[in-house]
Symmetry: C2
Subunit: 427 residues, 2 copies
């Protein structure tokens, strides 16, 4: 299959060169920002440098229920030789304490309540005893600052605590709340138009004789969603220039980036690339990438907007997406991808690459007796979707490497849990 | 701070023992399933074994535009010595072809169209020439099966293609579509009630003198969402038995799992644990875990429902969540967590653990001159949220390890991208 498909491509561009050409022809894409409530900002990309408008804590705060004291008054205190302090008031949460604590004095204080002026430490309630006289015995010494959360200890007012381009995680949401923020400015999700082409395609699956369910569109839309974009469904176009052209124009109008699958194989001529070239300048920049699968991938820019022409086979479309679309979406968002899990495993079969091409091999990683083995899944064609649903990892064979021998230690990008062998226990 | 907090705990239970006790007291929790449209099933957990009700492809299908032939008729064909075949009809997509292909015959066929009976291969259009006579010259041989996607090549009808407990990813959605499925049965998201306790807490942040913004609730609700649960907001309760009790009961009624923060420190007595014990049997099972931070974590079961009592400090609450709540949510969902990225880095400072405790150290991993360095972030208190927003990784110091020397190679769980040093280039 791939042999035949190759014939249309006189040359294949290396992945990095293709990316460089593509990005070089793209204007600096700056998506607008939008304000969202903090509680819905999880996993969104921060569009502002967040400067603290208040310190955290915003006042000296007790970390304990107990007595606010001058630490020096407790030095040397013990169970047998307590310090005796005069109880002169109380500091409650939500109230500014009026009392000033002087040497020899103590103020009852609750967890989270402001430490009154003059006091520099809090003795926990368990180390004290209130006498009938109203005075209090202290049975353990505290150091200055003990059990006090100092103003600005966590965040100092005016400092930048989170930088634009950051993907927001739970702790960040907590920080916004601590800073009293209700809304946050995030990058508007890039809108990614997804168009499938092919006379053979149908939205229905079963029950339509001789038609093929359009797998690419739902898969690609899910991939767009996964990397933080907003999929825009452009539907299916027949192998018809006018129809494809109309839908691509619609995509360019409504989306920030347009994906179109198929219509680029040899049998159909360069239907999609030719149409793209009629839509605007500079048009197709790269067509044919030195990668397997996904050779028939095309990269284009039309009037400042990127179009990626993806192969028609779902597996090829997915690898082309990971290689070109995903990095572009992160670029548009102004962020970096999350770190990806990688493991070392032993190949239990020879893994063969295609010389001069970067080869992506689907593997199944199994743990047996505490060792990890990667089995390359046979791929009679890039059309075999189940090689991807059965795999839990990807092995990359670089352009200048022939392959990996059976038994070689190889690096695997793991996207699902390792399968446990019969002997291995689950935790 | 931690010294004081420890005093209330006579003994601390090891993490694995605590989990065993906890799970042992829980009935087998089986969440109901729900049918959702395939397009909204991304990242949901499959509740059914998916059996293919149709083969994929469901018929022998051409992978090319060209001619359906009997492969044997093309053997030896070349540019100078073409095979001459009689063109006897056409196979279009969406139509069952009526023609039967015999030796010496060929049928025009479109990509995705059914291969007619008798034919066993497809010659791509570029290797053919149609003559004025209507016959066709074939310039290249094809092997039997070439350019034909055989029925069941991807999926054979009747086989189980996806198993329950699987987290659905884009390729899985594609497979459902290929199988003609419109809906899929997934596990209903576990409802996780989140309650904060503390007189000092307020929903407002800034502008409320002497109050503390409730950071835990939004953080924990985001964490619940991240691991596939459905957060249920139970609000804030004052340090008041009746109020906490009422809200916990409400939580037990509406949620599958209840989280309650604070109210378990020494200063406040065992307020929350005591209340939990009044709610039902067996009540508190473990209180005090041999981990740092998060020692004051409690695990309880009340009338078959789990309650986790989390420490009041946000950082402690988060580590306790990761250690006990997240695995429980995955258990309820009947799935395994995605693989987590781990890297090796050199510690650029000594990292100290607490003997007998599992210590979780927040680190910042930087790349400098191609090498990775992990810097432990100083933690004056578990209250310091910014140690988590500044960190990109976690180092675990096991119970029986004193710590790691400066320069030692350590394993880091990476949850944000590595920071690049001045000299390192970004890609």
């Amino acid at each position: 299959m791939s042999k035949a498909r190759d014939r249309g491509f006189k040359q294949a561009t290396r992945i990095e060169d293709a990316r460089r050409t593509f990005y070089g022809a793209l204007p600096a894409i700056s998506l607008p920002s939008e304000k969202v409530p903090v509680r819905t900002s999880l996993n969104r990309i921060l569009a502002e440098d967040v400067r603290a408008e208040t310190s955290v804590p915003s006042f000296d705060k007790s970390a304990m229920d107990g007595y606010a004291v001058v630490a020096e008054d407790t030095f040397g205190a013990s169970q047998t030789n307590p310090s005796l302090l005069k109880s002169v008031g109380e500091s409650k949460v939500g109230q500014v304490p009026k009392t000033i604590v002087r040497r020899g004095e103590a103020v009852v204080i609750a967890t989270g309540a402001p430490v009154p002026q003059g006091a520099n430490a809090v003795v926990m309630i368990e180390s004290t005893k209130r006498l009938d006289t109203g005075d209090v015995e202290i049975y353990a010494p505290v150091a200055p600052g003990e059990n006090v959360s100092k103003v600005g200890e966590d965040v100092r007012e005016g400092t930048v605590v989170l930088e634009r381009g950051r993907k927001l995680k739970p702790a960040d949401l907590g920080l916004f709340v601590a800073l009293g923020r209700r809304t946050v400015s995030v990058v508007r999700k890039p809108r990614v138009g997804v168009l499938s082409t092919g006379n053979e395609l149908s939205n229905a699956g079963r029950g339509v004789t001789g038609k093929t369910a359009d797998v690419n569109r739902p898969v690609l839309m899910a991939m767009v969603e996964e990397c933080g974009g907003m999929p825009v469904d452009l539907g299916i176009a027949k192998d018809d220039s006018a129809q494809i052209s109309r839908k691509l124009k619609q995509g360019l109008k409504t989306a920030d980036l347009v994906l179109v699958t198929a219509g680029t194989s040899v049998g159909k001529g360069d239907l999609v690339p030719d149409i793209i070239n009629t839509l605007g300048k500079p048009g197709m920049l790269v067509h044919g990438i030195a990668m397997r699968p996904s050779l028939p991938t095309g990269l284009a820019v039309v009037n400042g907007k990127p179009i990626v022409s993806l192969p028609g086979f779902p597996v090829s479309a997915m690898f082309a997406f990971s290689t070109f679309v995903q990095p572009l979406i992160f670029r548009m968002l102004g962020t970096e991808p999350d770190p990806q899990p990688k493991i070392k495993a032993r190949s239990n079969k020879r893994i063969v690459g295609v010389p001069g091409f970067r080869t992506f091999v689907r593997v199944l990683v199994r743990e047996e007796n505490g060792k990890l083995f990667a089995e390359p899944l046979r791929t009679p064609g890039a059309g075999i979707l189940t090689t991807l649903t059965r795999a839990n990892g990807i092995v990359v064979v670089p352009e200048n490497v022939e392959g990996f021998d059976e038994g070689a230690e190889i690096e695997v990008q793991l996207f699902r849990p390792v399968e446990r062998g019969e002997g291995a226990g689950r935790t």
